[in-house]
Structure formats: C-alpha cells, structure tokens
C-alpha cells in the first residue's frame, strides 16, 4: 500500500481496529488522497463514526440480539424441506435447523460432515475414492445378492466381483477380499462359512427356519467396511478457499467426526461436521463456539437473511459456551439456570418453578430484568440504572 508516512501516522493514531485502518488506507489510495490534512479529516470522521457505533454502557445487548435474530426468524421456512441440493445430500435447513442449534440437540436431525482430504488424495479422483470406501459403510446388500435356500438351510451370498474390486481398491487378490468378508461374517454371526469363487454360504447350526431368517436379518446389519454411522458419501470438486485451484471434497450423510479425523488421507485440520456436540467432544469448547456461529450464520444466509449482524450470533455462541460446555438456550439450559425464581417462572412451566421454589424456600433478589418487569419496578439497564441530577454544578474545589 502506497501511503505516505505522515498519513500512516494520523491513521495509526486513531482508535480504529486494524481492519478499519486498512480499509481507510485502501480508500485513500483509491481516491488518490495524498495530502495529510484531508487524510486526517477522513480518519477523524471514520473514528467518530466508529466510536458512535459502539455499544453504550448498560445497553441491553441480549435483548437486541434476541430481536435481531427473532425477527428474521419469522421469515424462515417452517418446514424442513429436504432437497437435492448442490451436494445431493439432505440437510435440515431454515427454522428447524436454527431451533436445533439453539436447543443444542445431542444429534442434529440430519448429521453431515464436510471431509477435506490431504493434498495427494484431494487431487486424484481414484485416491479420493479410496478414502470414500474407508468412510462409507459397506453392508452386504451393496456387495451382492443374498438368497436363502430353505431346502438345504443355507444363506448364500453371490458377491459382485466388480463391486468388490471397486470397494477394496488396495487389495489385488479377489480371494483375499472374499476371505475377508467371510471372516467378518463368521466373527459377527458365530457361524461357519464356506466360500468358493465369489459365493459365500453359511447356515444355522441346527436346521431351523427361524434361525435362518434371523441370520439373514443380522447379516444385513454387518458393516464390512467403513463407519456404520455414515450411510452415504458424495465426492465434489470445490474451489479451495482463497485460491483459484480446485480439489475433491467429500460430503457425508451421517457423522462420526472423531473416527473420520483419524482415517488416513483425511485432512484433520479442515474437516468439519454440523454436529456441534461432536466438535465440542473432539476439538473443545472454543471450536464448538466457532461452529455455532458459522452454522447459525449459514442457516440464516441460506434463507437470504444474511444481513443479521454477526455480533448477535457471536453473543449467542458466547453464552452457550460460557460454562465450558455447550448449553442450550431454553428451559433446560441458560434460562433454566437463572438465579431468579420469577425470571425462570416467566419463561416456561411457570407453576413447576413456583412450586419448587416454595418447597425449597427460595428467595428472589430482584436483580434481573424480568423480575422487575413482573413487580413493576424500573429495570437496572439503560437509563434505569443511572441517576441524573439536573442543574447540579460540578464541585468547584
């Protein structure tokens, strides 16, 4: 940036944060302002606006945030609509997703992950596929046809050679793969298997029609490869953030954040999930805070409501992670842990709270906003918490 030292001096002298200072520089450059006087005026004016726009002491920021998120919330779609979107993966959106986030549900309605790959995997579709098969759960129905032979009391699996080759790209011998599969069946179901070519057969110990069907049922649930929680993986080519290049990125249906991060080929520094609890468990409270902000902002932006100021969402995330773990906003979380009986009673399930408070002989200090609204006293916020004396002169000496 080509600004003179004098200009730099006046701009650096202001209280502006780095980002705004840089913006001042670039505007000065753009407009070709080189004289210090004008630059100083610009900087002063920007600083004035900046200071003006800051939150005043005793401003009810929480209430303002609630309104600022609540109003656009009324414009959101009420129905979860599952759609074949860009990634062909169903994701809960709109109001249901926002509610899910602030309620801090243990698992989201549609858990999903964005899996970034190490460079050597991210640029090669075949290698990216290797990772896909390590993540996506492979069950028997994907591998071949299962039929029951009632006369001989046998379950027979006719494996598809092509599928096997595709899903075990690193194993050359077909025999080894089939062997692997039958061993998995043996250890999971506790039966003996016989295999020849690509056919695997097994049956119950005692000839019983019920046991035979039971075995087929159990067979369907066995995960031969990949992670059980992840039912589908989609590969997409995406721009690398801030660069012109593209890379392969995996999107999953279902999430197992901790497990996926440990898989070879997965970039454990960029991969994320929409399950904030998993982020909390694996990466800690700060990362969870970050994800809450990103997810709430994305949910709003997706509905065209991205003019909600990020500071409101940051406040929400700060409060939700204030105790070192994720707490929901609501009766079981933040609002339910309030000190004041009246404030809790005013929120939800009024009678229960009043009854419990009476049983335990609780008292209310009347410090908060809600309590004072209930009893009709001025709240301790804004002009309610300062006393003004008109016409008093400052002490002279």
């Amino acid at each position: 940036m080509a600004v003179s030292e004098d200009i730099e001096l006046v701009v650096e002298d202001t209280q502006l944060p780095r980002r705004l200072k840089n913006e001042v520089y670039s505007v000065l450059n753009e407009k070709g302002i080189s004289d210090v006087e004008t630059a100083d005026q610009v900087a002063q004016r920007v600083e004035h606006e900046y200071v003006e726009s800051r939150v005043d002491p005793l401003d009810p920021v929480g209430t303002v945030s609630a309104q600022s998120i609540g109003e656009p919330g009324t414009q959101m779609t009420m129905n979860t609509f599952h759609y074949a979107g860009v990634a062909e993966i169903d994701v809960t959106q709109g109001l249901p997703r926002l509610i899910e986030l602030v309620d801090a549900r243990k698992t989201p309605d549609t858990p999903t992950m964005k899996v970034n790959l190490e460079p050597e995997f991210a640029n090669d579709r075949d290698r990216a596929h290797e990772v896909v098969w390590k993540i996506e759960a492979t069950r028997i129905l994907a591998l071949g046809d299962v039929s029951t032979n009632v006369a001989d009391m046998l379950v027979s699996i006719d494996l598809n050679e092509e599928t096997l080759r595709e899903r075990w790209p690193t194993v050359d011998s077909l025999d080894l793969i089939v062997n692997d599969i039958s061993e998995t069946i043996e250890s999971e179901l506790g039966v003996e298997t016989y295999h020849q070519g690509t056919t695997v057969e097994f049956g119950p110990d005692e000839p019983s029609y019920r046991d035979l069907l039971q075995l087929v049922e159990e067979l369907r649930d066995i995960v031969f490869k990949g992670i059980g929680d992840i039912s589908r993986v989609v590969i997409r080519k995406e721009e690398i953030e801030g660069q012109d290049e593209q890379e392969f990125v995996l999107h999953t249906e279902g999430a197992a954040f901790g497990k996926v991060l440990e898989i070879e080929g997965v970039d454990a520094s960029r991969t994320t999930t929409n399950n904030i609890h998993e982020v909390y468990r694996v990466l800690g409270v700060e990362a969870a805070r970050e994800r809450i902000i990103e997810e709430t902002m994305d949910t709003l932006a997706e509905q065209g409501l991205d003019d909600v100021n990020i500071r409101h969402l940051m406040l929400v995330a700060d409060i939700m992670t204030n105790n070192g773990e994720i707490e929901s906003i609501g009766r079981h979380g933040i609002s339910g842990n309030k000190e004041s009986v009246l404030a809790r009673a005013a929120f939800e399930v009024t009678v229960n709270h009043l009854l419990d408070a009476a049983v335990h002989g609780e008292s209310d200090e009347l410090d908060g906003v809600t309590e004072n609204v209930i009893i009709g006293k001025p709240i301790k916020l804004g002009t309610g918490d300062v006393t003004l004396r008109m016409g008093a002169s400052a002490p002279s000496e």
Binding site: G258, S269, G284, V285
Partner: protein, 76 residues
Amino acid sequence: MVDATEHELVPEHHLVEEERLEEILDEYNIDRTDLPKIKRLDPALRDVDAEAGDVIRIERDSRTTDTAIVYRLVIE
C-alpha cells in the same frame, strides 16, 4: 485421539501467569470466577499443563477485528 490443536477451528490456548492475571482482572474489575470457563480436560488444552483455577488466554481470529483475546477459567 486426533490432535485438536492442529485444527483450524481451534485457536491458540496459553496459560496466563499469576502476576499477569492480577493486571487483567484489575483492568476489567472482575473476579476470576466471573470469566467464562473451560474444562480441564478440554481437547484444546492437551499441550497446556493447566490445573483447575488457572486462567487460559485464548487468541481468536475475530470476525469483527483482527484478533480477539479472551480468557477462560479452568474448572473441574
């Protein structure tokens, strides 16, 4: 277990020295229990040797300014 500190979502966590802590608490005029909390076993603290009662300094990339510095009290 994966190294959480390697992930881009995880900002840097450092232990605050006791003398420095007094200054910070004085500056904001608060007690250390007024600070937000962080669990002792938080994955992001694996490289920090923290005990309950210590204070952690966290340097976040901020969306509204360059870096935001926040403090969390280690609990449990």
